[in-house]
């Protein structure tokens, strides 16, 4: 049984560019949450998708957007990248928002 998967593993972008990160949830899960983890910090909640809609959103600007597909997979898009967006981006899946299981993350570096 595959767990949560994320792609790509690493990504390097320059300021002002746009990036798309992808997540496939654990089998049987219908909810996907995204977190940003800066170096040496705990993860910060970005948003959560359930039934293809954004259900909850953390304190992140509109440059951060997402999408959930009918197969429950999800994308995180970040526009107009800033140096401060460099972080590990974690995806977590759950069944209707219960206990969350995390993927291995995507390391984004903005130069």
């Amino acid at each position: 049984d595959a767990g949560v998967t994320q792609s790509p593993t690493h990504l390097i972008k320059t300021r002002g560019q746009q990036v798309t990160l992808r997540c496939s949830p654990k089998s049987g899960h219908d909810t996907v949450s995204w977190y940003q983890q800066a170096l040496g910090q705990g993860p910060q909640f970005i948003f959560q998708y359930y039934e293809e809609e954004e259900r909850q959103r953390g304190n992140f600007p509109d440059r951060f957007s997402g999408h959930q597909f009918p197969n429950y997979s999800s994308e995180l898009n970040v526009n107009a990248l800033l140096l401060g967006d460099s972080a590990l981006y974690l995806c977590a899946s759950s069944l209707r928002g219960d206990t969350q299981y995390f993927g291995p993350g995507t390391r984004l570096t903005v130069l």
Binding site: G42, P43, Q44, F45, Q48, Y50, A92, T99, R107
Partner: protein, 115 residues
Amino acid sequence: AQTVTQSQPEMSVQEAETVTLSCTYDTSENNYYLFWYKQPPSRQMILVIRQEAYKQQNATENRFSVNFQKAAKSFSLKISDSQLGDTAMYFCAFMEASGTYKYIFGTGTRLKVLA
């Protein structure tokens, strides 16, 4: 707003010994969940243990157990018979049971198990 505090940035323990990691939280909610996650250098966040606030019994998973003190808003993790593979960052997390579905994490404790 809820907050989670982990006051021990780093800890070390000898192999086979016992160590306790501290976590306190602040909330006005009565129903919620608490979690401990482990993040080894591989970066993958792994669930260690889960506690439901309405359950008075402390959760246990093999060598891992918690001391949940609801009135004190304290949720510590005890690791018994520490193993080298326990070396990792440990994060405490809080989630309301009534609809927000988002985790609030502490800043983590870096645990090193010494041979």
